[in-house]
């Protein structure tokens, strides 16, 4: 695979060609500064920014980029957590937010066609209004885009019952380097014709093509739901409670867990309050038909009692439930109250082994004295392991890097994976070889090469060693 190593400054003739395609190219310092970051808070200046408005424009852009060999970085809302939308080698940022039409919602076949710039939360509202349900719900759903969600295969709290973005993508329109428009997948519940390129492109982090249309599978909206908040005297009790719930054959929509440091980031006005001696918390949501919810709810509450819960509370109104989920979604950014910098990993372990993982974190915390927070989707074993630190302190930074290294090693030894939903981007590229053996990685590089022989599309991402 060819690598673009030096940042290429887009010359005047390229800029004017781009302008002819999209009508507007941003190149001022002011604009570049505002498309240089994403939610990793790292910064790489692009050379120019365009906002295509249709598939044809995207195709022309990728043809031009392939001919002139300049890097192209697709960008949705720029809310990714591993640097997928960063122009690490400069070049052109292609912002997809203006392709934001919900083209069709087929009520009979429960299928929706959307453009990639549709904001996930707006799509949620639209389908809900029609009595339908699109389950993937990343914390960023109020502002992230469906295109970005597909490119990163975003997850969310309901994966334990409903899976992740890839489980809802039926088909895609994708423009590949050179400008060809490919159509993958189907509009039906089943389909096995040819290789499953839909799954390949979902989660490919903008390295294989630019998504221009998405066909999504929808579900009927569950009739009702109930949120429970449960506090425990120790992380261990909470983790064991999770295993118990699953063992009993109960599959809630969501089982989120928070350790004591994450609890401290919850607002004081959380419905039901927060007990002083709470060291761990579960937020459990059950959905389905009302009678079934009542039964499952009391079963889960019994199990919580058996696992020494300090407080168990059913949300009284939908407003309370919303307040609880809003608080949960705000944790990740709120962690900055501990320190100016964050290292955030979203490892996954088999959920029965969550207690082992929690023990390991305790051990590392005691050994290093670093501020570590764990919270996440206990139902599916996806844990947001976070170290808060001041990166300017070299000593602490070094310690933190070692901690991450041993967390990754331990995760893999438990049969887990390095990333559940954030992707690799540039943040985790250096660790990829821990999980993926050299032959598999070589095949992945060949796949990348088949889509993008000149290496123009989102260079520097996923593969180790592509960015210094």
């Amino acid at each position: 695979m060819k690598k673009i190593n030096k940042p290429i400054s887009l010359d005047k003739s390229i800029l004017s060609e781009l302008k002819a395609i999209t009508g507007k190219v941003l190149t001022s310092e002011t604009d570049k500064q505002c498309y240089a970051y994403d939610a990793t808070n790292m910064q790489y200046l692009p050379d120019a920014i365009v906002f295509p408005e249709n598939e044809d424009q995207v195709s022309q852009i990728l043809k031009l980029a392939n001919d002139a060999e300049f890097p192209v970085v697709p960008r949705g809302a720029g809310s990714g957590l591993t640097g997928g939308a960063l122009a690490v080698k400069g070049g052109l940022v292609v912002v997809m937010t203006r392709m934001n039409q919900i083209i069709d919602i087929d009520m009979d076949n429960l299928v929706a066609d959307v453009q990639p710039g549709v904001v996930t939360g707006i799509f949620h509202q639209r389908v809900q209004h029609l009595g339908l349900f699109y389950p993937p719900d990343p914390s960023s759903s109020a502002y992230s885009t469906l295109g970005g969600n597909v490119a990163e295969c975003a997850g969310g709290p309901s994966a334990v019952k409903y899976g992740v973005t890839r489980d809802y993508v039926l088909g895609l329109n994708v423009v590949i380097p050179g400008g060809a428009i490919i159509q993958t997948g189907v509009r039906t519940a089943k389909g096995v014709v040819g290789y499953d390129l839909t799954r390949l492109i979902t989660g490919s982090e903008g390295t294989l093509g630019i998504i221009t249309q998405i066909t999504l599978r929808l579900l009927p909206k569950p009739k009702s739901s109930q949120t429970l908040t449960v506090f425990y005297p120790s992380m261990k009790c909470a983790a064991e409670n999770v295993s118990e719930i699953i063992r009993k054959g109960l599959i809630p929509k969501t089982i989120e867990y928070l350790d004591h440091a994450a609890i401290a980031c919850m607002p004081a006005d959380l419905p039901g309050g927060i007990p002083d001696d709470a060291k761990a918390m579960l937020i459990i949501e059950i959905d389905g038909i009302p009678e079934q919810i009542d039964t499952e709810c009391s079963q889960i509450m019994d199990l919580a009692h058996q696992n020494k819960a300090i407080s168990i509370r059913k949300a009284k109104t939908p407003t309370e439930s919303n307040a609880i989920w809003k608080a949960r979604k705000a944790i990740s950014p709120a962690l900055y109250k501990y320190a100016p910098d964050k290292i955030n990993e979203d490892i996954v372990v088999p959920r029965s082994l969550i207690p082992d993982f929690v023990d390991k974190v305790d051990e590392l915390r005691h050994a290093t004295g670093l501020t570590m927070i764990t919270f996440g989707h206990a139902g599916d074993g996806n844990i947001h392991f976070t170290v808060m630190l001041d990166k300017n302190n070299a000593d602490i930074k070094k310690k933190a890097d070692l901690v991450i290294e041993s967390i990754f090693d331990y995760t893999l030894s438990l049969g887990g994976t390095l990333s559940g939903e954030h992707g690799i981007g540039i943040s985790k590229a250096a660790y990829l070889e821990k999980e993926i053996d050299s032959q598999t990685l070589a095949l992945m590089r060949q796949i990348k090469n088949a889509f993008d022989p000149k290496g123009i599309l989102n260079p520097g991402k996923i593969f180790p060693g592509d960015i210094s």
Binding site: S28, E29, T30, D31, Q33, C34, Y35, A36, Y37, D38, A39, T40, N41, Q43, F51, A77, G78, S79, V95, T97, R98, N100, G117, V119, G121, S140, A142, Y143, S144, A330, S332, P333, A334, Y336, K337, K342
Partner: protein
């Protein structure tokens, strides 16, 4: 300039999570990152080491494209004081010609308007100067844009005399109320001022309305002109203190919020700062005050079902966030069985004072985001407690060819009283 550096370091607290994109009215219309808080915080950080950028037109434009509505500040998980950061950088950048014109005319106006006499004289002179199309005018955003610069349709009637000039006050033994009218009620919306003062009189608790009160200073503050905003604050403090009130009532949410801003503006003057703090503690929204004191009973119609209408209630940003945060006054409508109130409008109207002048089309686009919902209901009336929102709805509804009357909740209440027929209200579509 430690103050400025402090704001910039606050900007450095922004972690670019992007949550502000979910609430920013400007971003949601433009989908441009230079418009949203995290983009602006990136620009502010960068400006710190590249001070030249302040001269760049694009930079100035980006900084000017903010309503200061406060939605992002409210939601920011890292509590970055975004409004303060933007206001601070506005102090440092030079304004363009059009903005200068607007700001200088605002200042001229606030100087002229110290007494009703001068205003009467100057009002007619100004009217001659700018021609027939005398523009909207208020303390919040007094504006004299040239007709050619403006696509505006709404021209409020400007009263020849300020409300304060013909108001009479008889002291009583109750707690002393001072009514800070703000320029909106004083020069344009006399009905609002009349409603409040009359209702108070009916309850034998009249308010003192100082005739020489000045503009609250918000337009200058929002434009980054802290010097003028501070000087207006001082003058107002002197005027208010003379009466030594127990309560300072406001009918404009923005004036109310600016009164709370005075202490911040005067923080380098410990004497004035202390006095400003005291006045901020006395400030109260007039509608809330009347409800709390059960002062509206005389204005209720005889029967609970006497009024049949659908109301669009807009809660001003200055009541939604910050020190002047208040719940939606649902209690006001609880006296009526057949008044249907739509509360779904929970985003900035797009006025933002000077913003509507410098970015008229964008401002209207932001306003129009609510129109689909608005049209779904047969709205008879819009109620809102802020001069800026009042003007914006008047303009926006006219642009959308919807002749719906806009007024302050107290004006509506005042018109409902048994002896005052609702027909008095202009623009009202009577129902049988």
């Amino acid at each position: 300039m430690t103050h400025n550096n402090q704001e910039i370091s606050y900007a450095g607290k922004c972690i670019r999570c992007g949550l502000c994109m979910s609430v920013c009215p400007v971003y949601q219309v433009s989908l441009d990152e230079t418009d949203v808080a995290r983009g602006k915080m990136a620009l502010l950080e960068w400006e710190q080491s590249h001070t030249d950028i302040k001269k760049s037109t694009r930079f100035k434009q980006a900084i000017s494209r903010c309503l200061l509505c406060g939605a992002c500040t409210n939601i920011c998980p890292n509590q970055v004081p975004i409004n303060d950061c933007i206001q601070t950088v506005r102090q440092k950048i030079s304004l363009n010609v059009k903005e200068k014109l607007v700001i200088s005319s605002m200042y001229t106006f606030s100087n002229l308007s110290r007494s009703g006499y001068i205003f009467r004289k100057s009002g007619s002179i100004l009217q001659k100067c700018v021609g027939k199309k005398f523009p909207e005018l208020s303390g919040l955003h007094l504006r004299f844009p040239m007709a050619s610069l403006s696509a505006r349709k709404y021209i409020p009637k400007i009263n020849a005399e300020p409300f304060t000039s013909h108001y009479t006050f008889t002291p009583t033994s109750s707690k002393k109320i001072l009514y800070f009218t703000g320029c909106g009620a004083n020069y344009m919306f006399h009905q609002t001022a009349l409603a409040l003062t009359e209702i108070l009189k009916q309850n034998n608790h009249p308010a003192f309305v100082p005739e020489n009160q000045m503009c609250c200073g918000l337009p200058f503050y929002a434009a980054g002109d802290n010097q003028k905003a501070a000087s207006l604050a001082k003058k107002n403090i002197d005027i208010i203190e003379k009466f030594s009130p127990d309560i300072v009532l406001t009918t404009c949410a923005s004036c109310g919020a600016q009164i709370h801003q005075w202490k911040q503006l005067l923080k380098n003057d410990s004497d004035y700062e202390k006095r400003a703090r005291k006045i901020a503690n006395l400030q109260k929204d007039a509608t809330t005050f009347l409800l709390e004191n059960n002062y509206i009973k005389n204005n209720l119609p005889d029967r609970r079902d006497a009024i049949i209408e659908t109301i669009w209630y807009h809660h001003p940003c200055h009541m939604r966030w910050g020190e002047t945060r208040l719940p939606v006054p649902k209690e006001l409508f609880s006296f009526f069985d057949k008044v249907n109130v739509i509360y779904s409008d929970n985003q900035c109207c797009g006025n933002g004072g000077k913003f509507q002048i410098s970015h008229f089309d964008l401002s209207m686009k932001i306003f129009e985001t609510r129109m689909d919902l608005f049209r779904q209901h047969k709205i008879d009336r819009v109620l809102t407690s802020c001069t800026g929102c009042h003007l914006q709805f008047s303009e926006g509804l006219l642009q959308n060819k919807l002749p719906v009357s806009v007024m302050h909740p107290l004006e509506w209440l005042y018109l409902l009283s048994p002896e005052r027929a609702l027909q008095k209200s202009p623009g009202q579509r009577p129902k049988k």
